[in-house]
Each structure stands twice: as C-alpha cells, then as structure tokens.
C-alpha cells in the first residue's frame, strides 16, 4: 500500500533555492534569569538530518521552539526559509512534532490528521499519512484509547501530513519501547529519502548516531561540539575501567587517553577514550590487579569529556 502510492507524492524541496534552510546567528534566549541558549549559532542545510543532542534541560527544545517562532530570541538573529519563523506562511512548509502533555482525547486518529492536513496547501492524502506513520489499522481509534507509543505516532503523523519540506521532531521516540523506536527510525529515514530536511532532538547518543548526518551537541545552553556521528563518537567513545589496583593515581594519569581517575577505598575508576591500551598497560604494570570491569561511559560521561575538551 505504502509503496504503491509512493509515486503520487509530489515533493518539491527546492534545494537550489534554500542551501541553508534555517540559521541561528549568535542567538541568546533567557527565561527570566535562566539562560536557556547562549550565543548559539548553527545552520540547517537542505536534505540533511541534524540531531540536537544533549541531556534534559540542555536547551534543545528551546532551539526547536525558536525555529517554530513559538518563542522569541532575547538577542541574536534567526531565520527559517529566509523569513520570520513565526509567520503562518513559513509554517505551511514546516511540520512539527512537539512534546505535549495532553492531546484532545475524544477525536479519532483519522480526524486529527484530517484537521491538520486542512491547514496545509498541499497535504498528503490522509490514507498516505496513515500508512507512513503506521496508523492505518488505528485510524478509527480515539486518541485517548491509544498506547503511549501509538500516541507518539499520531503526533508524528500530524508533523508529516502537510507534506512539509522541513520537519522538527522533538524527542520523537521518548517513552517508546525498542521495537516502536526502530520502526519510527525507519519512518524517519523514509522521509529523508524523500528529500525532507529534519531537525531532531534527542538525549540518546545511539539515536543521533543511527539517524543523523550531523550532530550538534548542546549542554547548558551552549553548543559544545558539532560534527558527523563518526566525529562525535570518536570524541565521546569513553569507557570506564573499574578495578582494584595498587598503581598510583599519577601513574594511571600517564596512561593513554585517560580523562579522569576516581578512587573509592580499594576501587579505582579510570575514564578513558582508549580502554584497550590502558587495560594492556595496567595488566603489565600491576600483576595483582583484580576485579576488572569495563563499561561504556554513558552519555553523561561523554558530555563531561566534551565539556572538558572545550574548556582546554
């Protein structure tokens, strides 16, 4: 069904006209005394998927809201399709999936999509939207009767039903189980194949890695790293080595790629970007080393590493 109707899609991205689809230049955004974004600059190019990656409260959602004109920058410039992101005219080319606490529950899936489709000049046929979001069998369900993952899919459908050139997906897979997440990833990839430009926020490094052409890492309102997933991973591929060793902290610090040492009674935790080499050397230097455990440093530690790098 989905493949049969693919040819009916009349998608025009006008990539030549919009090399930069959206642009932030030195944007600051404060809420009272809280600085949500600090001197933030980056651009979105036609046809790419940019992931804004960061922990909760990093400023990702603020960036999306600025791009949608829902909030205004405190200072700095930003434009979307060369215009004011708050204008309704610009919004006809944009679809957005936002985090929302409650959606009207008594409307059916099909009805929600029908209404949102009517806002756009060239919407997809409703059946097509349902198929793309995997909602065909749920079309007559009331929103309130859906599971959490299914609700996310309806919000995804509302973002794509207008056949927009640019999509904003704010934490699209939050609250989804693994299977639902993989399915949505596939649907996001399908949109990219059709030439859409996508800005996605996530706090899962894995998600950004699976989908993005470019990752922008944000922490505490500032852009701390930007690059392809490979580049970012290279800088954040930290491991934690936990062990009981008699080697001194000074010796451990001298080992390759060591970022940090934590000592707690007998146990030592070594943060490093080159775990294999560090292990090899510890085993040679300390024959009594025991209780070795290697774990992925996790995103928190990766951010730590990245923020430290930017300070140096």
């Amino acid at each position: 069904m989905a493949t049969a109707s693919r040819s009916t899609d009349s998608f025009i991205s006008l990539p030549g006209r919009d090399p930069e689809i959206a642009q932030f230049t030195g944007v600051n955004k404060s809420y009272g005394s809280t600085r949500a974004l600090i001197d933030f600059s980056f651009e979105v190019r036609a046809g790419e998927l940019v992931a804004l990656l960061g922990p909760n409260g990093a400023g990702k959602t603020t960036a999306i809201k600025l791009l949608l004109g829902l909030v205004r920058p405190t200072s700095g410039k930003l434009s979307v399709f060369g215009g004011d992101p708050a204008s309704t005219q610009i919004h006809t080319r944009i679809g957005a999936m936002l985090q929302v606490a409650r959606v009207p529950e008594t409307l059916r899936v099909r009805e929600h999509i029908d209404l949102f489709s009517s806002y756009y000049p060239n919407p997809l046929p409703i059946e097509r939207t349902l198929a793309l979001a995997g909602l065909t069998t749920l079309r007559d369900r009331k929103f309130g009767d859906l599971s959490g993952g299914q609700k996310q899919r309806v919000l995804f459908a509302l973002a794509l039903c207008g056949n927009p050139d640019l999509l904003f997906l704010d934490e699209p897979t939050v609250g989804m189980d693994v299977e639902a997440r993989l399915l949505l990833w596939q649907e996001i990839r399908n949109l990219l194949e059709r030439g859409k430009t996508i800005v996605l926020t996530t706090h899962y490094l894995e998600e950004a890695d699976a989908l993005a052409d470019r990752i922008v890492v944000i922490n505490k309102g500032s852009l701390i790293a930007e690059g392809t997933p490979e580049e970012i991973k290279a800088r954040t591929a930290g491991k934690k080595i936990r062990c009981v060793t008699e080697l001194s902290t000074a010796v451990l610090r001298g080992l390759p790629g060591v970022l940090d040492i934590e000592r707690d009674r007998q146990t030592t935790v070594i943060h490093t970007s080159r775990a294999e080499e560090v292990l090899r050397q510890i085993l040679q230097l300390d024959l009594k080393v025991s209780e070795i455990e290697v774990t992925s440093a996790g995103l928190e530690a990766a951010f730590l590493a990245l923020t430290r790098e930017t300070k140096n």
Binding site: Y31, L70, H91, V103, P104, T106, L107, D114, S118, Y119
Partner: protein, 267 residues
C-alpha cells in the same frame, strides 16, 4: 477537502482557504465536545432536566400573570446558553493552553483566529440546541403558546446574548489552570445564575441579592428574554444590550491580558 487549495489563485498559492479551515476546526471542536460526557451533562442535561422537573413536573404555577412553563423557557434558556458558552470555551482553552496542545496548533499553519472562532461557533451550536430543545419541551408538554415571531425573537436573543459569555469563558480560560477550570467556571456560573433569578423568579429573591443581581450580565440577558414573553422587570432592551456589550468588551480585554501574559512567559 484536499482539493480546496488547488483551485486557489496562484498568486496566493500556499494558503488554503481560511473559511474551510474554520469550518473544519469548528466541526471537530463540536465532535470533540459532543464526546465528552461531562460537557454534555453540564450544557444539555442539567438545563433540560431542570426545566422538566421545575417546569413540567412541578405543575402549572403562575409567576405573576405568566405560566411558569413560559417563564422558565426564558430563565433556563439563559441558564443553558451561559453554560454552553462558558464550558465550551473556558474548559478546553484552559486545558489546551496549559498542557501544550495550543502550542502544537501554533506551530502549525493554522490561522490563530480559527482556533478561537471554532470554540465560539461550537458554543453557539450547543446554545442553539439547548434553546430549541427547551422550546420543543415547552410547546409539547408545558402548554407554551407563543406567537411564532416571539419564539424566533426569543431564540435569537438567547443565542446572540450567549456571545458575551463566550468572551467571559475565554477570559477564564486564559487564567484558570487546566485541572481547576471546570470548578472555576462553576464558581462563577452557579452563583451568577442564582442571583440573576434563573432558578427562582427574581422578585422572590432576598432584597440584598436583587441589589447584586441587577449588575450581573446574566440578569440583563434573562430580562431581555423575559421581556419578550411578558415576564420581565421592564427596563429598556437597549440598556440591557449595552450592559452585555460592555461586559463582553471587558472580558475580551481580560482575555487579551491573559494572552499577552502567556506570550511574555514564553518570551
């Protein structure tokens, strides 16, 4: 539906017909509310049930020289359109504002006025259903005999007179919390109805309540309706309308303040 935009003038291509958006928005606003049992109970069941109990079951009493069944069409008519307007606007606005749905709408290309217009149109629709149902009950079971022209005037007065309460609902919707909105509405709605003589004829009310009552918009709308059926306190129609219009403007002003407050909070 999807073909609407393709028939547009190319010069304004990229803008679907605003009227068709409003119609669809209102249609779904209506369906959305129709499927909420609490909304139906507050706006349809209560006024009609009161009319059946106090008008039809309690028997044929006289209020002044007017049959109670006639009097109560006007009084419960006012009560019903107030309820439809307040619940139709305030409850959903407070919830959608407070829980992020309005933001999703604002991120879409929906013209902002369509959102508010849909709530008002939906409220007017429920008000019309209320008024028609009361009249049918009155004529069929309450011995209400009024000239057709009077009936039409009464219906139009109540429906048009519901608009200031839509404005009041928007004002409440901008300041009430999502969870407390229905309670806040009732805190205004029920005392206002009582003090305006919608449950008990105005003249039967204690003097001090009457003194408060004459300042309430619900009093002025009920008087407009009662005057048409010969049960009012007198007073010029234009005076009542002026009060209602003034009240509507005041409420729109308050709603605007709430709107600006929201905008500031978001930056």
């Amino acid at each position: 539906m999807a073909s609407v935009s393709t028939t547009m003038n190319p010069a304004i291509l990229g803008r679907p017909n605003a009227i068709s958006i409003c119609v669809k928005e209102a249609k779904y606003e209506f369906l959305k509310s129709l499927r909420i049992p609490m909304f139906l109970v507050s706006t349809l069941v209560f006024p009609l049930m009161f009319y059946v109990l106090f008008g039809l079951v309690m028997g044929r009493q006289m209020i002044g020289n007017l049959r109670s069944t006639v009097y109560l069409v006007a009084a419960y008519g006012t009560f019903a359109v107030m309820g439809a307007s307040l619940f139709g606007t305030a409850a959903s606005l407070a919830a959608e504002r407070g829980l992020g749905w309005l933001e999703v709408k604002r991120a879409s290309p929906m013209p902002p006025f369509a959102y508010f217009l849909a709530k008002v149109v939906m409220s007017l629709t429920f008000s019309s259903i209320d008024v028609l149902a009361l009249m049918i009950l009155g004529v069929a079971f309450g011995g209400v005999h009024l000239p057709a022209a009077t009936m039409v005037k009464l219906a139009l007065t109540l429906i048009a007179g519901s608009l200031p309460f839509c404005a009041m609902g928007l004002a409440i919707g901008y300041f009430a919390r999502p969870t407390s909105a229905p309670a806040v509405i009732n805190l205004f709605y029920l005392p206002m109805s009582f003090c305006s003589g919608l449950w008990m004829p105005f003249l039967f009310l204690p003097r001090f309540i009457q003194r408060v009552g004459v300042f309430l918009p619900s009093y002025h709308l009920s008087q407009l309706a009662l005057n048409l059926v010969g049960g009012g306190q007198g007073g010029s129609a234009s005076g009542h309308w002026q009060t209602l219009i003034g009240f509507a403007l005041l409420c729109l002003g308050i709603a605007r303040l709430g709107h600006q407050r929201d905008q500031r909070a978001q930056g």
